[in-house]
């Protein structure tokens, strides 16, 4: 590697600065607003003139009527996201094991339907999904949101898992079978351990997909005790004088978990999720 001349280094710094600015301005703006006094005129300032943590305190102690169920909503979001991640992993590792390792005769058809489902934009199914959930009598339950998100996360999960599974040498299965392993043991003792990186990546994908979901969350669950955080944030807008500073504080608290989670597993994400895409 030759050393780059200083002019290139400078250009790189400028580009990096522009990218950072572009990325961070709306996020920085959230922080500035969240640090401004609750009732004050939310004028767009670059630096908060009178910084305070009141909005965070109000939220965490639930002392404003718009955040009176903050912890319940946070719990609902976590419950939905974790359930979706668990169910997606459960359903799609089993299915991909059957397709890739047991050579399920209809495997091609199954992965084809998964692929097709993956390519339906989720919002296009909003109307019939709502009617479906009404017919199943699941509207207003967290289960309805969980099942919808599992439905949308599973197809991509199966596709990625099948690709990873196909790259595991078959000799491992054969060796285990000679030792008398049943398919279930193969799945537990050979397949799952070898799939760990992809499982972490897909688990995160499903978790973030469910945690961040807005459209289905507000369509399906608007009941006060069952709704998730994004829905309660959306309700701020219905209030006559929406306290935007408070809204942004709630928003930041809601954004921190996915950011931390993504940071913790970022090594798995790029290898696990982009590998499939690059091949296509």
């Amino acid at each position: 590697m030759t050393r780059k001349p200083p002019s290139v280094a400078l250009t790189n710094l400028v580009i990096a600065f522009v990218i950072l600015l572009w990325t961070l301005i709306p996020i920085y703006h959230m922080v500035v607003m969240a640090l401004s006094p609750t009732g004050g005129t939310p004028a767009g300032q670059l630096i908060p003139s009178d910084p305070t943590l009141d909005n965070f305190a109000l939220t965490l102690t639930e002392e404003h009527f718009l955040v009176q169920h903050f912890w319940q909503h946070l719990y609902n979001s976590a419950f939905v996201a974790l359930s979706v991640a668990f169910l997606t992993l459960f359903i799609s590792t089993l299915a991909s094991f059957a397709i890739s390792r047991l050579k399920f005769s209809l495997g091609g058809a199954v992965s084809g339907t998964a692929l097709l489902t993956y390519l339906i934009p989720a919002s296009f199914l909003a109307i019939p999904m709502y009617v479906t959930m009404t017919n199943y009598d699941l509207v207003e339950t967290r289960l309805s949101l969980i099942m919808v998100m599992v439905t949308f996360a599973t197809p991509y999960a199966i596709w990625v898992f099948v690709q990873h599974a196909d790259s595991i040498p078959r000799e491992l299965d054969e060796a285990a079978r000679i030792d008398g392993a049943s398919p279930l043991q193969l799945y537990r003792l050979v397949f799952l351990p070898l799939m760990t990186p992809a499982i972490v990546a897909i688990g995160t994908y499903a978790l973030l997909l469910a945690w961040n979901e807005y459209l289905y969350a507000f369509l399906l669950v608007s009941q006060e005790m069952n709704m998730t955080l994004p829905v309660s944030i959306g309700y701020f807008l219905l209030s006559d004088e929406a306290p935007w500073n408070l809204l942004m504080a709630v928003g930041i608290l809601y954004s921190i978990p996915p950011a931390i989670f993504y940071y913790a597993v970022r090594g798995y994400m790029s290898s696990g999720l982009t590998a499939g895409a690059v091949k296509a």
Binding site: A95, F104, S123, I158, Q163, P230
Partner: protein, 298 residues
């Protein structure tokens, strides 16, 4: 001797065949059990809603109603502009930025973590932040314009054209990081030897892009464009949370217009018709994508 040897051989063969057919039978039974949870979800939450959706959208009256609604034409134009401008601009920027990230020093890794934030954190929050930034009277953008240049900024979200431009901007902000990472992975998969060979042959930056990077990346770039078109048709949040389709319902896209009919006016059939009318736009891309992804499977 010969006969008994043959029969012994065939007996072994028979046992082996029986054993293997029993094994494959249990394998098949296991496979069926293991695929069953997926099939149940698929039947209950894909087949049934899709079928129901087509049933709801089968009333010709709702299409007539839709075609007589002036908002529908505006929405069609918006959707097309959104797909052409937002998708291509986003992917072109992703191509440039991925090149920057691929070629730069280790400190850029940190940059790429910050860069991914828009994609990782919920859009409800960030889009509402944009919405307030663009507020004509109190927003950050117009405040900065006034402080720096004594210019009165426009009413960003009140003018339909500017508002739709803002929708495109927000969409790009949100999804640029994801596609940049995809293209970055594609760039990193290109062999370093090719770049060295090109540089020995005296290729400059542009030439090495043209003769090494682009040939290695073109297929992925096109795949990403098609996939991004499919996803972007369904982008509900960027419009709904930033403008709500306003002002005067002039910034809707098909995804939000369907929801507006169905849940704003309780007209589920027209809402469904809005979605179905978008399918001819979508199906060719889905078809190409399935062919590409299936051939990648092999």
């Amino acid at each position: 001797m010969v006969a008994s040897g043959a029969s012994a051989g065939s007996a072994v063969g028979l046992v082996r065949r029986q054993w293997s057919s029993r094994k494959s039978l249990t394998d098949h039974a296991w496979a069926l059990i293991m695929v069953a949870p997926y099939l149940v979800v698929f039947a209950l939450f894909v087949i049934y809603p899709v079928g129901y959706g087509f049933f709801l959208g089968s009333n010709p009256q709702s299409y007539i109603k839709l075609l007589n609604d002036p908002i529908f034409y505006r929405t069609m134009v918006n959707t097309l502009v959104f797909l052409i401008v937002a998708v291509n601009l986003k992917l072109f920027l992703a191509l440039l930025i991925s090149g920057f990230l691929a070629s730069s020093a280790p400190w850029v890794r940190w940059l790429s973590f910050i860069f991914i934030l828009p994609w990782a954190i919920p859009s409800v929050v960030t889009i509402l932040s944009f919405r307030w930034m663009l507020n004509a009277e109190w927003g950050l953008v117009n405040n900065v314009l006034w402080d720096a240049f004594q210019v009165m900024g426009p009413a960003w979200l009140i003018d339909p054209v500017l508002a739709f431009g803002a929708v495109i901007l927000v969409h790009i902000w949100k999804y640029l990081p994801f596609w940049t990472l995809i293209l970055l992975a594609g760039r990193l998969a290109i062999s370093k030897d090719l770049y060295e060979a090109a540089s020995i042959d005296g290729a400059g930056r542009f030439q090495s892009f043209r003769f090494v990077t682009w040939p290695g990346l073109a297929k992925l770039y096109i795949t990403s464009t098609i996939l991004s078109i499919i996803f972007s048709v369904g982008d509900f949040n960027s419009v709904y949370l930033l403008t709500g389709g306003g002002p005067g319902d002039k910034t809707h896209v098909l995804a939000t217009l369907g929801v507006r009919y169905a849940f704003g006016f309780g007209d589920i059939e027209t809402g469904m018709a809005t979605v179905i009318i978008a399918l001819p736009l979508l199906i060719p891309f889905v078809w190409i994508m399935i062919r590409r992804m299936r051939s990648a499977d092999k």
